[in-house]
């Protein structure tokens, strides 16, 4: 009898391995494997014209946070890098906050529509999300350039004489990223909001809670997992954003993604680029870990 069960189990394992093989092969070849090479490269010496010399060095990692003064040979913080790190983190957090301010009421609005309408409203949220990120960034750029729609309109109305410089500022990055990643905030909040039992809200009002109290003491705690998920979903891609800062920051407002690209492009320091990439990955992983823990703790308390 045991042999029968064993034979079946072995057949199942074999079938599973065969079915998984193509996907795993592609992913190992073009996603995971190359990451390991990045780790190796981060410990090598940069070549003169890009690429690397096969010589072990910790300099790249060291250079992520510190640099040696060219003239005095003095050790000091790599201000240029740290300011980019700081800008990336700051803008990502601000973007998440802005997205929450707009996303929460929107998710609430959709969740309180009649059931048949909700899907259509969600489709309206999904369509911009699935359309090209570059195009959406580009649309924002056309809006806020000096010769763009907003400035042209304001000048046309005689409100201003000179165009307001909005493009290539931190404001433009914030605006662009909020615009681009807003659906990522709405989606998970809506998902938890949709499951919200509105009789709980009624019970709150029945027990003398004001609208604000119902919002903060009943609705918000119940949809908090969605808010956490949304914040992480916005924060993570912001941190690694490349297209939006490149188009709207115009090389002036660098974010981590652009700094990494510079190392592989003009600056030809591949090991530093590799080390910066891995630093970015590390921050993202910490954020994801935080998210997983928050979600699983939420799950436990619900049991």
């Amino acid at each position: 009898m045991t042999t029968l069960a064993e034979t079946r189990a072995r057949a199942t394992r074999k079938a599973r391995a065969l079915l998984l093989a193509p996907a795993m092969a592609i992913l190992v070849f073009a996603a995971s494997g190359p990451l390991i090479i990045v780790v190796i490269y981060s410990f090598l010496t940069p070549g003169d014209y890009g690429g690397v010399e096969w010589e072990f060095s910790l300099k790249a990692w060291f250079n992520v946070v510190a640099e040696r003064d060219f003239f005095t040979d003095e050790l000091r913080f790599a201000d240029a890098h740290l300011s980019v790190f700081w800008r990336s983190i700051k803008l990502s957090i601000l973007t998440a906050i802005l997205a929450f301010i707009f996303g929460f009421p929107t998710a609430y609005f959709i969740a309180t529509r009649p059931k048949k309408q909700r899907d259509i409203w969600m489709l309206l949220i999904m369509i911009p999300f699935w359309t090209n990120l570059l195009i959406r960034t580009f649309a924002i750029m056309e809006l806020i350039r000096n010769q763009g729609t907003v400035n042209t309109a304001l000048i046309g109305m005689g409100l201003i004489d000179e165009p307001i410089q909005m493009l290539f500022t931190e404001f433009s990055l914030l605006l662009g990223m909020t615009y681009v990643y807003l659906p990522l905030m709405i989606l998970p909040i809506y998902a938890s909001m949709e499951r919200l039992d509105f009789s709980l809200v009624e019970a709150g009002y029945d027990l003398y809670a004001s609208r604000l109290k119902v919002l903060t003491k009943i609705i918000f705690p119940l949809v908090k997992p969605g808010v956490v998920a949304g914040s992480i979903l916005v924060f993570v891609p912001c941190l690694g954003a490349y297209v939006t800062p490149r188009v709207l920051g115009g090389g002036k407002q660098l974010m981590l993604g652009n700094l990494i690209e510079l190392q592989f492009g003009q600056l030809r320091n591949w090991p530093l680029g590799a080390a910066l990439s891995l630093s970015l990955l590390a921050i993202v992983m910490v954020a994801l870990l935080f998210y997983v823990r928050a979600v699983s703790r939420e799950g436990e308390s619900n049991v």
Partner: protein, 358 residues
């Protein structure tokens, strides 16, 4: 004939393991309507799935007409299942569903068409042949599921709570329908249910299960009138349980002393309890009568009187402690209505009380 010998099924391992079936042995005869009856989680569905081939038992043997079933994958076993959820293929029509098994068996198209027509007629669904399964009612889906499982002419039909999704009225009609189909096709039916009425009305034999074990096997009348143990007595129908002293036994006949001190005859399974011990006896409410206290087996005071239309339930607080329910059919010309607080006596004929094993 299906022979199930020493079948055990343990899910999981170590501390988290759960024994769904603990050493089950049954022999089901050909052309029999055999019912596995028990509360949810008693292992009846697991046993059915072992026969169908969806669950491998941990130990034991299952043979069909002497042929080992366990080494066969489900798709070669001459056994078909009517699923609890019906599991009708949503992308096929009614006719395609019914013909599916025959198609898989590689039968010629002409034969499939004929059999499908026969089956449609058998379950009275001829008009619905080209409908999608989502376009027919629950009762009709049920009949399609039956026809689909019967079409390949299996040796055994397994039915997993097939009536549980239907409303009450339809359920009662389907009981007769199932019984008719079984008689007409001559196929062995193994029917799983937790509904005692279904089991009692349709079955040739019933196996009552609890905690993965068979508690009693017998005909419906046998199981109802002579439950072997407390679980069976309790699970099937209403019952009064009385403590008693077993004075002597002779074959199936037992002499007992009731708590009121009165002695009477009861029925006991052979090889049951020894004389001189405390036992429990079971008496069905409708098998007892309500009289005056004089000469009664169990005197007491009438408590609640609950009117049910067809009958009335009298709750008697016994002088010897505990309570006893007597059920009496209502008569249109009934003059005397008993009142709460009246002194009454409960009686039942000799041999009515059943001595339980536990």
């Amino acid at each position: 004939m299906i022979e199930i010998e020493g079948v055990r099924k343990v899910f999981g391992e170590g501390r988290d393991s759960f024994t769904a079936l603990g050493d089950v042995s049954i022999t089901i005869d050909s052309n029999e309507f055999f019912t596995l009856l028990g509360p949810s989680g008693c292992g009846k569905t697991t046993l059915l799935r072992v026969i169908a081939g969806f669950t491998d038992p941990t130990e034991g043997r299952v043979t069909l007409e002497g042929r080992d079933l366990l080494t066969l994958p489900p798709y070669t076993r001459p056994v078909n299942t009517v699923f609890q959820s019906y599991a009708l293929f949503p992308h096929m029509t009614v006719a395609e569903n019914i013909g599916f098994g025959l198609k898989m068996l590689g039968k010629p198209r002409r034969e499939i068409t004929t059999t499908v027509e026969e089956m449609l007629e058998l379950v009275r669904m001829t008009e619905m042949a080209d409908r999608k399964t989502s376009q027919i009612s629950g009762g009709q889906q049920q009949r399609v599921a039956l026809a689909r499982a019967l079409a390949p002419r299996p040796k055994v039909l397994l039915l997993d709570e097939p009536l549980s999704a239907l409303d009450f009225k339809l359920r009662k009609d389907m009981r007769l329908e199932l019984k008719r189909l079984q008689a007409e096709t001559g196929i062995t039916f193994v029917f799983v249910t937790h509904d005692q009425d279904e089991a009692l009305t349709m079955s040739d034999r019933i196996a009552v299960m609890n905690h993965g074990e068979i508690r009693q096997i017998g005909g419906p009348r046998d199981i109802y009138d002579h439950p072997a143990e407390r679980f069976v007595a309790d699970f099937i129908g209403d019952t009064n349980l009385l403590p008693a002293e077993l004075l002597s036994t002779e074959g199936e006949s037992a002499r007992i002393r009731l708590p009121s001190g009165v002695e009477t005859q009861a029925r006991a399974a052979t090889g049951g309890q020894k004389a001189g011990g405390d036992v429990t006896i079971a008496v069905r409410p409708e098998h007892a009568r309500l009289n005056g206290t004089e000469g009664a087996l169990l005197p007491g005071t009438l408590g609640n009187v609950v009117y049910f239309g067809t009958d009335t339930h009298y709750h008697v607080d016994l002088d010897s402690g505990g309570s006893f329910v007597v059920r009496q059919q209502n008569q249109p010309d009934q003059q005397h209505h008993r009142q709460t607080g009246e002194r009454v006596g409960v009686s039942f004929a000799p041999g009515i009380g059943q001595v339980l094993k536990d």
